[in-house]
Amino acid sequence: MSRIGVFICHCGENIAGTVDCAKVAEVVSHLSGVAHSVDYKYMCSDPGQNLIKEAIKEKNLSGVIVAACSPRMHEPTFRRACAEAGLNPFLCEMANIREHCSWVHEKSDGTTQKAIDLIRMLVSKVRKNKPLYPIKVPVQRTALVIGGGIGGIQASLDIANAGHKVILVERDPSIGGHMSQLSETFPTLDCSQCILTPRMVEVAQHPNITLYTYSEVESVSGFIGNFKVKIRKKARCVDEKLCNGCGVCIQKCTVKKIPSEFDEGLGLRPAIYVPFPQAVPNKPVIDKKNCTYFIRGKCAACEKLCPTKAIRFDQQDEIIEADVGGIVLATGFTILNTDFFPEYGYGKYKDIITGLQYERLASASGPTLGVIKRPSDGKIPETVVFIACAGSRDSAKGIEYCSKICCMYTAKHAMLYKHKFHEGKAYVFYMDIRAGGKMYEEFVRRAIEEDHVKYIRGRVSKIYEEDGKLIVKGADTLLNHQPIEIKADMVVLATASIANQGAEELAQKLHVSYDSYHFFAEAHPKLRPVETNTAGIFLAGACQAPKDIPDTVAQASGAGSKIAALFSATEMTREPVIAVVHRTAPPIFSTCVGCFLCQSACPFQAIEREEIKARDGKVLKVVAKVNDGLCQGCGTCVALCRSKSIDLQGFTHEQMYAQIMAS
């Protein structure tokens, strides 16, 4: 016979204002199975919790119901109190008579009756509750960081410095990401490479970090603490151990005119190349699509001239398998650089470029060695127009969100132009200036006031070429929408930041949710911005949403700390609210018929096949089995199981039916 204690909370006036708590306690005390019933002003307070603890001991309670607020609010509080009094915490449940009753109804007998009904239903459920015990999962203390931009670099270093092993995977031939392409950084105008490259070198030399560049994550399986990953190390066609980075192959390569990805198509590179001089690792890769040897089977100049004989034309992709406990996603972003806005003529006119291309023009390591020259004829432009929000904040044709970084980098671009070419005229067309951040507003004001960049509040409707000039037509909305025409020599579009290519595919591989823009989704927009909905996978940087460098680094350190916390013990405990497949005595073994509908329905890949074998090893039956580590307790499999062979612990069919039947 159950001995359940019911504790009714007034929550000050929150509940007692509309529900007659004393009457509820009185009525409930007569329910079958209820041994104790009491109401109190604040159950969550220390005296309130003591009331529960004492009752458990004195009345030898076999279950506890706290009728108060939402279990999301205080279930852990009361379960902890029960555990302290020696009662299995999963025998304690909460009836939500605040959000579900007192807050949403007027004061009346009906409201009190509803509170009684909610408790009565829960009494029926708790009578069927069984003690449950937390699940212990071992933790593999190695982290996988995907993406070697500044986010991935920071997260890797933080985890490695905390004493844990890190595997850093980068898709491109070098780490560094977009930050390595930038000229100078706002709001301090310090050189991007100067602050980044020491970190890149640190990553390469750190004893705890294993770096795989020119590699991609092939597959991820497993669960928090125990992921199994496969990494495809693409063939560089260069033996990294033998190569000493002398660069002879690069100089002697016969194919030289391939648009450089690193220079955003403004510079050229050979078929065997390192993306940029400070690349980490400083080992070249062969671009097989453009290499004469791979196209015609001839040439091999690099192979002949390599002093260490490091060229390997026959190198194959390699698959590396690793066990990791946690994953940081830091895959970054890309920019919208298509002819998304035909009226702006990107792609049609050479001197209309994206912000990232401008960064390469302004960079000392760029194709023009830092001199702002326009791509069409190499002349220094005398008038440059910068267009902010090219695609951002445009629900009609672009993307709806604000790309966040453009206001700042556009101010920086205009400023750099003015610094490099004092006589030049710089115009910025903007919608609003969003300069929230430390020293950001001051930076924009500096561009306007000290460097005399002309800011025009308005949109550009069209750009076309006339007599060698780019005619930029727009309106000044601060001057009564007066039409403006500027004859420019170059136009820079602050194109929107969008999710990286393949983000959706990667999210599906990792079972991480993503939003409608294909950015990875955080578990909670405010309180869990670093976690994903999949336990053990964390986010850093612009793969979540557009972010500048300081925000990316902050989040990367956040993700690094989360991993360090996860790795602080050799095993972790999880709530036992997971699905279980019924097992019975032979010869039935289980009511599961092995249809595996549950397997196809499980969003977490937690259902495995289990073979029930006789002593001689003969397979008697194949049934479903739930992996404790992977199951998140969503209950999808339970709803789908045709033979009702799966139950969610703590919410079994028996418990749920009992609760419903009592209503």
């Binding site: 002819d339 806005f341 035909p342 009226e343 003529g345 049609k348 009609a396 044709k397 069209k462 076309y464 070429e465 006339e466 005619i471």
Partner: protein, 310 residues
């Protein structure tokens, strides 16, 4: 032969008669059978939709409903303003059930949304893909400025047709008949539209810019697909030239007229004699090298050693 509903609208019976004539002339040759919607009414352009939303929806709704009654799946609407009204009305009716019911009660007909309004470019695109090129007897080998105007491709969210700010379909169709479209800046700029009546100086200014850019970039003729654009660029030329102190004589042709010429249709059937600015195009040699007098459709004698098309 594809059967398409046909809604001429008021312009094609009046100022744009040659648009109607040329369309009817080329239709059988490019495999279109036009079925004029019986008892059609005004589309409500300009006046209705700026004053009364319900009326502005009810007028085109009746046209749509009549087409549906005839089991027509598509309605060809050559006038860009009519096209805009019909598309917008259908979009609103299909996304707003109470409005659809209200309008159905007013017009005493049901609108199910089964008849889709299409513009002239869509219709030509359809037919040109299955054999316009084969039927060309006299390639229209001129440098042309394809002028789309404001309404043919806007609003993009509702139309989902071509690229709103840099459309290409007219250029593609013109290429098929041998023309060389120029890349220019005024493809979709405003011609002044309805100000043709009330504020001619605005039309002179706006249309003047369009004509200037087309001429500067070497166009021999401007191709249009909207009666309003045509009347502003053609009929108002005297005002335009006066206002801008210019002497532009570049002809303005409907896309259907250009196709008609390429198909070898008699210029009179295409209504080319109805223009204010005479359609005078230089004779070009065929790729075979022979002199090509085919475009000499002028009734008057040729002038200055050139054969002219008027």
């Amino acid at each position: 032969m594809i059967t398409i509903g046909y809604f001429p609208g008021c312009s094609l019976l009046g100022t744009a008669r040659e648009y109607d004539e040329s369309l009817r002339a080329i239709a059988p040759k490019i495999g279109i059978e036009l079925v004029e919607i019986p008892d059609w009414n005004c589309c409500g352009a300009t006046a209705a939709h700026s004053l009364n939303h319900t009326l502005a929806t009810a007028l085109p709704a009746r046209i749509l409903a009549l087409a549906e009654k005839e089991n027509l799946e598509e309605i060809l609407v050559p006038c860009a303003a009519c096209y805009n009204r019909l598309v917008m009305a259908q979009h609103e009716l299909m996304s707003n059930e109470p409005l659809c019911k209200k309008v159905s009660d007013i017009i005493e007909l049901d609108v199910k949304g089964t008849a889709r309004p299409i513009n002239i470019l869509e219709a030509l695109m359809k037919t040109s893909s299955n054999g316009l090129a084969q039927n060309i007897s006299k390639p229209f080998n001129y440098t042309v400025a394809c002028y789309y105007g404001c309404l043919l491709v806007r609003p993009p969210k509702v139309l989902q047709f071509d690229r709103a700010e840099d459309p290409q379909i007219m250029d593609e169709v013109m290429k098929k008949i041998g023309a060389v479209p120029i890349d220019w800046a005024y493809k979709t700029e405003c011609c002044g539209a309805g100000f043709s009546v009330s504020k001619t100086d605005i039309v002179s200014k706006l249309s003047g810019k369009i004509i200037k850019d087309a001429v500067t970039r070497g166009a021999e003729t401007i191709i249009v697909a909207c009666p309003m654009c045509h009347s502003n660029l053609d009929m108002r030329r005297k005002d335009i030239n006066q206002y801008n102190d210019s002497r532009y004589i570049i002809p303005v042709m409907y896309i259907t007229q250009a196709i008609g010429l390429a198909l070898g249709i008699d210029k009179k059937k295409l209504g080319l004699h109805r223009h204010i600015i005479p359609v005078t195009l230089p004779v070009k040699e065929k790729t075979t090298g022979k002199t090509q007098p085919a475009l000499a459709v002028s009734e008057r004698s040729a002038s200055g050693g050139k054969t002219e098309v008027e």
